[in-house]
């Protein structure tokens, strides 16, 4: 008994001792996490040292994320200091103005030298009440670039912050009481494992001046992941709009109903069947209960992405796959105000939005000016300048070319068709949607002599029904270019596909990398899944123009195989969608043996080719 009491007393003592030990262990873990990520934190300056913000390296070859409002005043080249005290030259790669994100690339001091970098986390698992670590250079305290570390609580997740100024909008962001101040902009927010969960950039200040007021915001890393392809491809990325205005009204139950109060008739969402008064149930897989929820989801995606949307009309639920329209106004006047209102619906009565932090040393300004004059670099041009190429619509065209060349080179590994420039004949069977049985099919791409020059003709024969198109003949009606009817333009699509295979980018007057996009090939068994989300495959995109045809090509991000493409004549119409599968070798080159063709909401047909004759 005595022994037991003694033991009990001893164990009661153990409680606090254990607590202390655990606290020390947690502290050690925290310190270790900070030490691990510290070398990846970047101090960003304009050349010559003015201004200043923060960034974070995300790859060993020197790519770093920061805020758009940090690089806006620096111009396309800047200087970056790392925690080891070394200053590097850097160049702007890509930007997302609406989301306030920019990707820059640091140049190594020695060719091929590796940079330390932070690992991307999953911001969707972050919850209010979690701990977080922010790092950066507030008030430019550290002249040797050693980042300042602050530690605090996640105050809220999936927060929506209305646009400050005109376009800069924080959607689905992480709210923190972790102290961030001017100079922290563009810097990393880490979870306690040292994974990057967000980019700090904004705060709510109201009356308290532009310093930490206990309410800061970080752009969630999952949003940035959606734009990562665009950023790497040197694009000036645009966000999305739906083409419909939704509002939340209270029902008798007290719960809100989010429904469509206006809709643009040339929007994809309208063409897919959504209309006024339809209730929005879910958007991109997220349940929508208020306008803020809806805007959060919308802000996550780049223009042109397709996402599932579910709505209810009376008692019927319907899921559609919507192509998102652009959000950014095309041109801004001298004051940075939009000239063109664009399709973006006007926000409802707005609370005071959070605002971006100014750069330390800036004169206090009432609002972020949209057109800040880049600080004129002093001295000789930056060594990074040779990696910069200006082009309208791009942040840095140099990187777009780099990405395009990499993608096409990887694609050509599946088969080099450049020598096969003669007539092509494909034979097999087709199952048309309107028919129950399979028909025989023969597809010819031939070059016909017409006097001096030659012209291409595409011929399709399904059983005894012939179709033909001269894809470049002038004066053809759009309907003729979209033959056969209900395919949306299969003949043109076949022509363009052959061009890509034989001439690669040289065939197109315009050919640029379009970043990453989701692609939804129909299921192999032809069955409709419960949600189209199950069909999603992440792709790299190439956008091309040839004659009247605009084409978007989708390459697998895994092996750069072409999974399909879409052909359209103008932006606001349904394209002819071609899905390629069942790749098998033909004379040592991989070719898809199955072609599925969709148009608008319909399935045109599935082609299974068995014979390929590709002449030189």
């Amino acid at each position: 008994m005595k022994k037991t009491l003694l033991l009990l007393g001893f164990l009661l003592l153990l409680g606090p001792v254990a607590a202390q030990e655990i606290a020390l262990k947690q502290q050690a873990e925290r310190v270790a996490a900070i030490q691990k990520v510290k070398p990846a934190v970047v101090a960003v300056f304009a050349r010559g040292g003015q201004g200043g913000g923060t960034g974070v390296l995300i790859s060993d070859d020197g790519y770093a994320l920061t805020n758009f409002h940090v690089v806006q005043p620096t111009g396309p080249t800047m200087q970056c200091g790392l925690a080891d005290g070394v200053l590097y030259d850097a160049v702007l790669v890509g930007q997302d103005k609406v989301g306030d994100v920019a990707l820059i690339k640091l140049l190594p001091k020695k060719e091929g030298a590796k940079f330390p970098f932070a690992v991307l986390g999953d911001s969707d698992v972050v919850r209010e009440g979690d701990w977080s670590i922010a790092m950066g250079n507030p008030f430019l305290l550290a002249t040797d670039f050693t980042p300042t570390v602050t530690f605090g609580l996640v105050s809220g997740v999936h927060r929506y912050q209305y646009p400050a100024g005109t376009i800069l909008e924080y959607t689905d962001c992480i709210q923190i009481d972790t102290s961030i101040n001017p100079g922290n902009s563009g810097g990393p927010l880490f979870n306690m494992k040292g994974e990057l969960i967000g980019i700090n950039g904004r705060g709510s200040f109201d009356k308290r001046g532009r310093v930490n007021s206990g309410v800061g915001y970080a752009i969630s890393i999952n949003q940035i992941k959606n734009f990562m392809g665009h950023l790497h491809a040197g694009l000036d990325a645009d966000h999305a709009s739906l083409g419909a205005l939704v509002t939340t009204q209270s029902e008798k139950t007290g719960f809100g109903k989010t429904s469509v109060t206006s809709i643009l008739e040339d929007s994809d969402v309208f063409r897919r069947g959504m209309d006024l008064d339809d209730e929005l149930l879910s958007f991109a897989g997220r349940h929508v209960t208020s306008v803020n929820h809806y805007k959060n989801v919308l802000g996550l995606y780049p223009r042109g992405w397709r996402v599932p949307l579910e709505f209810r009309r009376e008692q019927n639920r319907k899921e559609i796959l919507v192509r998102l329209m652009g959000a950014q106004r095309k041109t801004l006047d001298e004051q940075g105000r939009p000239q063109d209102d664009g399709p973006r619906p006007v926000p409802q009565p707005q609370p005071k939005p959070g605002e971006p932090f100014p750069q330390p040393g800036d004169q206090p300004k009432p609002k972020l000016p949209l057109k800040k004059q880049p600080i004129a670099p002093k001295g000789p041009p930056s060594p990074a300048a040779k990696y910069y190429e200006a082009k309208a619509g791009f942040a840095n065209y140099y990187f777009n070319r780099l990405e395009r060349e990499r993608l096409l080179k990887a694609y050509q590994k599946h088969g080099d068709f450049s020598a096969l420039d003669g007539d092509w004949t494909l034979e097999g069977g087709v199952r048309l949607k309107k028919l129950r049985s399979e028909s025989r099919v023969k597809l010819d791409v031939v070059s016909e002599k017409a006097g001096e020059s030659s012209k291409f003709v595409i011929k399709l024969k399904i059983d005894e029904f012939p179709y033909a198109l001269e894809p470049l003949k002038s004066g053809l009606e759009p309907a003729a270019l979209k033959a056969p009817e209900t395919s949306g333009g299969l003949l043109s699509a076949v022509y363009l596909y052959r061009l890509l295979l034989t001439q690669s980018d040289k065939a197109f007057t315009e050919c640029y990398h379009g970043g990453f996009e989701p692609f939804y090939p129909p299921a192999a068994d032809g069955k409709t899944p419960t949600s189209v989300a199950a069909l999603r495959v992440d792709c790299e995109v190439l956008n091309t123009r040839h004659g009247p045809y605009l084409t978007k090509w989708f390459f697998s991000r895994v092996d750069q195989k072409l999974l399909g493409f879409e052909v359209r004549l103008t932006d606001n119409e349904d394209p002819c969608e071609v899905f390629l599968s069942d790749y098998r070798p033909v004379d040592g080159r991989l070719l898809p043996h199955r072609l599925q063709v969709m148009y608008a909401d319909g399935h045109y047909g599935t082609f299974n080719f068995t014979n390929f004759s590709l002449a030189k």
Binding site: A23, G129, D130, L153
Partner: protein
């Protein structure tokens, strides 16, 4: 014997696991629990830097909401968003300006809303300086509908009197409050929750408050144990916040008589040292520049001895006396400076207009 040993081991394991929970835990679960009992309020405001939104705490299943007695309640269209996104309209049923709280009731006839048992919470002892706290509110109107409140963490820095004075701070509540190091008293935060790490209610978050002399903002919460002396039917009665909440829910609360404006007296511009004990001597801490006291030549560290020939032993006595002297009146004072008595005359003025914080 064996069982006992087993019990001891189990106890030890339990203690160790409690220790784990205390170290650097996530507060997600606590925040979610508290959030269910909080509401977003939308009412009057939207001009002159006054927010049109605020925060409240559900104190009954029928939809009684405790909140700050501030401007947003001056609306005939007070709207409430409950944690699950439900929307209600509400009306203010009782206000207690001296406690700076009010109770509103949602219009619908319901009996199922998650709520805080206020009396039970108020029966707990006060928290202490150094205690770890969470502050939750809908500051900056970040959330609407079913979006959760913002949660911040901090420490109670002090438990001390909120020395609100016109022209310096405009604090409606005059009594001891928790001062916190979290920047919690932002627009819309008043009426929010100050809780301990377990989610127990400690206080009601205060208003935005700025010292116009030092240009600093303070962050405070009125403790739920707060009580004030009120003049009710010619009697001075001690009324606690718990009494107010209980009687407001029951519909029996008797409104105190309005504090008369002339009670505040004329303006002199003397700032005294903190009134820490019952009979703190009235030493001058500061003299507001340009004020009657400054014009009369009063200085910091002067000790007020007589006012109009009456001996003044304490700060409380000084304040009571000065409250009875209106603007325009002349007051004679004797103050002790070093070892000498100096005689001065103060001509009191109108209380300066409260400076709008911006």
């Amino acid at each position: 014997m064996r069982n006992r040993r087993f019990f001891v081991l189990a106890l030890a394991t339990l203690l160790a696991s409690m220790a784990t929970a205390h170290a650097q835990q996530s507060f997600t679960a606590t925040a979610n629990e508290v959030n269910k009992k909080m509401v977003k309020l939308f009412g009057a405001g939207g001009f002159k830097g006054l927010a049109s939104y605020g925060t409240g705490i559900m104190v009954s299943p029928k939809g009684h909401i405790l909140t700050c007695n501030n401007h947003i309640l001056s609306s005939s269209d007070l709207r409430v968003h409950v944690y699950d996104g439900r929307f209600y309209r509400a009306k203010v049923i009782f206000r207690e300006p001296e406690l700076d709280v009010a109770v509103a009731k949602i219009d619908d006839d319901v009996d199922f809303l998650p709520h805080i048992d206020f009396e039970k919470e108020a029966a707990r002892p006060l928290a202490e300086p150094g205690d770890w706290v969470l502050a939750m509110s809908n500051c900056f109107q970040i959330a609407t509908r079913d979006e959760p409140m913002s949660v911040q963490r901090g420490v109670i820095s002090a438990y001390a009197e909120l020395r609100g004075r016109r022209g310096i701070f405009d604090a409606a509540f005059q009594g001891d409050v928790y001062f916190i190091d979290a920047i919690a008293c932002n627009p819309g935060a008043a009426g929010g929750v100050l809780a301990n790490r377990k989610g127990d209610l400690l206080g009601i978050l205060g208003r935005e408050l700025k010292n116009t002399l030092t240009d600093t903002w303070i962050n405070y919460a009125i403790p739920i144990q707060a009580a004030v002396d009120l003049q009710r039917e010619e009697k001075l009665e001690k009324v606690s916040m718990a009494t107010f909440v209980r009687e407001a829910i029951a519909g029996t609360y008797k409104q105190s008589e309005k504090r008369k404006k002339e009670d505040r007296g004329g303006y002199h511009g003397i700032v005294l040292v903190p009134n820490v004990i019952g009979a703190t001597p009235p030493y001058i801490e500061e003299v507001v520049p340009g004020s009657p006291a400054a014009q009369a030549g009063l200085r910091p560290d002067d000790l007020i001895v007589y006012v109009d020939g009456e001996i003044i032993p304490s700060i409380k006595m000084f304040r009571e006396l000065m409250r009875q002297v209106g603007p325009g009146a002349e007051v004679r004072m004797e103050v002790q400076r070093a070892n000498r008595l100096h005689s001065v005359k103060l001509k009191l003025t109108e209380q300066p207009k409260v400076q709008a914080s911006k």
